[in-house]
């Protein structure tokens, strides 16, 4: 394992994209940064600009308006960059599956590295997911 991947797994800066979620998943993501869970212990930081991102947290069912924008944001992120699908909506379109506005699930659009299920997923689940991601990166690359 090189220094590069080691450093990457110890300091993951996440950028949060909401592609039409009901906002509960977004609130649970913010919960990870509160005193109770404090994910900054692992070097995870929420940042404001995609150019600084190491991981994209995507929530919500992909609708026609948000898909092109999300693709654009993914292209703007500097590589290596992982994509994390948070919440049932992003995983399987959930209850919006037969909606007129929702066409394809997230993993048919972008290469998703990690799925975190739940509606909304608990902060504990998100943290567990991130530790799994770190293990996966360490093994894979």
């Amino acid at each position: 394992m090189s220094i590069k991947t080691k450093a990457l797994t110890k300091s993951i800066w996440v950028f949060h994209i909401s592609c039409g979620s009901c906002n509960n998943c977004d609130i649970e993501i913010l919960d990870c940064f509160t005193p109770r869970h404090d994910i900054e212990r692992f070097g995870v930081q929420l940042i404001g600009s995609v150019r600084h991102a190491d991981a994209l947290l995507i929530t919500g069912a992909m609708n026609r308006k948000s898909v092109p924008r999300m693709k654009k944001i993914y292209e703007q992120a500097p590589k290596p960059c992982v994509v994390v699908a948070v919440g049932q909506c992003a995983l399987s379109q959930h209850m919006f599956r037969y909606s007129y506005n929702v066409r394809e699930p997230l993993d048919e659009i972008l290469p998703v590295d990690l799925y975190i299920p739940g509606c909304p997923p608990k902060p504990e689940a998100i943290i567990a997911g991130i530790t799994k991601l770190v293990k996966k990166i360490n093994k894979g690359k």
């Binding site: 450093a7 300091s11 070097g43 404001g48 600009s49 600084h52």
Partner: protein, 303 residues
């Protein structure tokens, strides 16, 4: 050779970066503890920098060379300032004539380079950040220079850092006089704004303008900006110590002084919300400038 060694290793680049990154961790840890969190481990900032150097650099369709070179401009001139300052603190007799003015100029370079870089990226939010940074410079430079003038008048009109330190070594620190204390407060606020700490983190407001001036930077160039921030966190408190508490500069007293100043800045940062740019200007040109002017008058009278 010795000069190069000074610039690259001892008071310069390497020391400044290491101490600055540690101070940056101290800032993050104290902030975390104040919010009842645990906070990152001590090597976190080093890892962040290492990671940024391993990432891809994206250069927007813009004026390419200014975008690439401006971070290095700010970083190198700031390291030069750190070197001059560190040498003076170690060997006061080795300072050259008017080095305080040189340091003053070099310390403005990071902000200028940030403005150049932000405006050459052609991002609207970055240009908002750049214009805010520019207004902020106009705000804090005036009281900062005035407080320097107060110190200079107190130390028998000498514009040489070495003799300012020597004066304080024989007549006591500047901060224990009325004019020195007022000037210290003014300079402290200017330092807070230079470091980009809240309540003056207006140009990099994460929530309003997504990182402002840094929005288009990624990878190694962003790392250089982060290193600039770290070196600034090393240089500014040391400069204040040099100007206002220069009585004993042995290691045993220097380190508590440094930690004390950084701690005070972090406490102010964590207990104040961000203010608007017009409020910041009014604050700097109003109370802070008045305080600095009073300190200059008091110093001229001899208090």
């Amino acid at each position: 050779m010795k000069i190069l060694l000074n610039f690259l290793v001892f008071p310069g680049l390497l020391t400044a970066v290491c101490v600055g990154l540690l101070a940056g961790w101290f800032d993050r840890k104290i902030s975390a503890r104040l919010q009842w969190r645990v906070g990152p481990p001590w090597y976190q900032n080093f890892i962040d920098i290492a990671k940024l150097f391993g990432k891809e650099t994206i250069i927007p369709r813009s004026s390419r060379w200014t975008f690439i070179l401006s971070p290095y401009l700010g970083f190198l001139s700031l390291v030069l300032a750190a070197t001059v300052l560190g040498k003076v603190m170690l060997w006061p007799s080795e300072s050259f004539y008017a080095d305080i003015i040189v340091i003053l100029y070099l310390l403005t370079m990071p902000a200028v380079s940030m403005m150049i870089g932000a405006s050459s990226s052609r991002n609207p939010l970055a240009s908002v950040g750049a214009s805010r940074e520019m207004k902020l410079i106009l705000g804090y430079e005036l009281p900062f220079i005035l407080s320097l003038i107060a110190v200079i008048i107190r130390c028998q009109d000498s514009i040489q850092l070495g003799s300012i330190i020597n004066y304080q070594a024989s007549f006591g620190s500047n901060i224990f006089s009325f004019s020195g204390a007022l000037a210290f407060i003014a300079a402290f606020f200017a330092m807070q704004a230079k470091l980009g700490f809240a309540p003056f983190d207006i140009s990099e407001a994460e929530q309003e303008i997504m990182g402002g001036t840094l929005i288009e930077y990624s990878g190694p160039l962003l790392a250089v900006f982060k290193l600039t921030k770290a070196v600034l966190l090393y240089t500014m408190p040391l400069l204040l110590i040099c100007l206002f508490m220069g009585k004993d500069l042995g290691w045993m007293l220097l380190i508590p002084k440094y930690i004390g100043i950084v701690l005070l800045a972090v406490l102010i940062k964590n207990t104040n919300p961000r203010i608007r740019i017009d409020q910041a200007l009014r604050f700097f040109w109003g109370p802070v400038t008045i305080m600095a002017v009073i300190s200059v008058i008091l110093a001229a009278v001899g208090l």
